[in-house]
């Protein structure tokens, strides 16, 4: 075979291997969660959301190029107190009927440090909540678990990507009772994301 035929073939094969892997974050086990916390005088308001989906493109050879979008269903936000949950979902706060999704779209990764299968860095992207979109930067930890999908979901071969991120937002920035109830609910919200995505291999 002539070299002119071989070279494009090699290039194509290399490109195929270099392509980022697409990880789906709809978790069949329902373990993925986003935790939120707001300080309040009597007791901090702690809750979580489980309705998580989205996809992330991750290249094990180039983790710095990671991009993707994570979606949290607003309706899935839960707190143990039923009245607080009702208020949280109501038009006065999150208005889940009007804004059914909370999203984060990762655009770039900076200060990337990879050690084995763990990559840490600062992710910058757009965070959308309550109809407001803002650019935020937060520390992130990516753990690439090669060939571990079968250990979690039998009969499926592939890889897992675990993402952990913690960040703080101001509720005023997202028009959540701007300037109101500051004596009752903290103006800042702590968010913590712990999610695992799967990349199925045929």
């Amino acid at each position: 075979m002539k070299l002119t035929y071989i070279l494009p073939l090699v290039a194509l094969t290399t490109a195929a291997y270099a392509a980022p892997l697409a990880f789906d974050f709809k978790d069949p086990k329902g373990v993925n969660n986003a935790v939120f916390q707001l300080d309040a005088p009597l007791e901090s308001i702690n809750g979580s959301a489980s309705g998580i989906s989205g996809t992330v493109a991750f290249d094990p050879e180039n983790p710095a190029a990671t991009t993707g979008k994570i979606i949290v269903a607003s309706e899935s936000l839960t707190v143990p107190n039923p009245m607080q949950k009702e208020h949280l979902h109501s038009a006065n706060w999150l208005d889940v009927a009007k804004y059914p999704e909370i999203t984060f779209e990762a655009k770039s990764l900076a200060k990337v440090n990879t050690d084995g299968n763990v990559t840490t860095g600062d992710v910058t992207g757009t965070f959308s909540l309550h109809g407001v979109t803002k650019e935020i930067t937060a520390p992130i930890k990516l753990t690439y678990l090669k060939d571990k999908l079968a250990a979690r979901v039998p009969n499926l071969k592939g890889d897992l990507l675990v993402i952990r991120a913690n960040f703080v937002i101001n509720r005023e920035d997202f028009n959540l009772q701007k300037g109101q109830y500051e004596d009752k609910v903290s103006p800042t919200i702590d968010l913590s994301l712990s999610i695992a995505g799967a990349c199925v291999r045929q």
């Binding site: 969660n33 009597l42 007791e43 571990k148 999610i195 695992a196």
Partner: protein
Amino acid sequence: MRKTLQIIALLLGFATSASWLVTGANRGWTKTSVPVKTADEVTGIEGISYRKQFLPGIDFLAAAWGTAGVLAGASLCFSKKTKPTTITK
């Protein structure tokens, strides 16, 4: 009636306090579910699910003692039973 209302008020207050203490003396708000964390062995992620459980809080205790106070107050609207007096001539 006066005595009955006062006894009901006391019973309500003490029974609520006892149940609050027995369920762990939750000094926060009343909860109808409690978070249960389970670790995923492969990913290390702690999954959070909610188990239905009534956990009375400070608000529940305050409401019970408030109701007890209203009952005790209402009892004062009823006059004391007076012993019949015999008039001897």
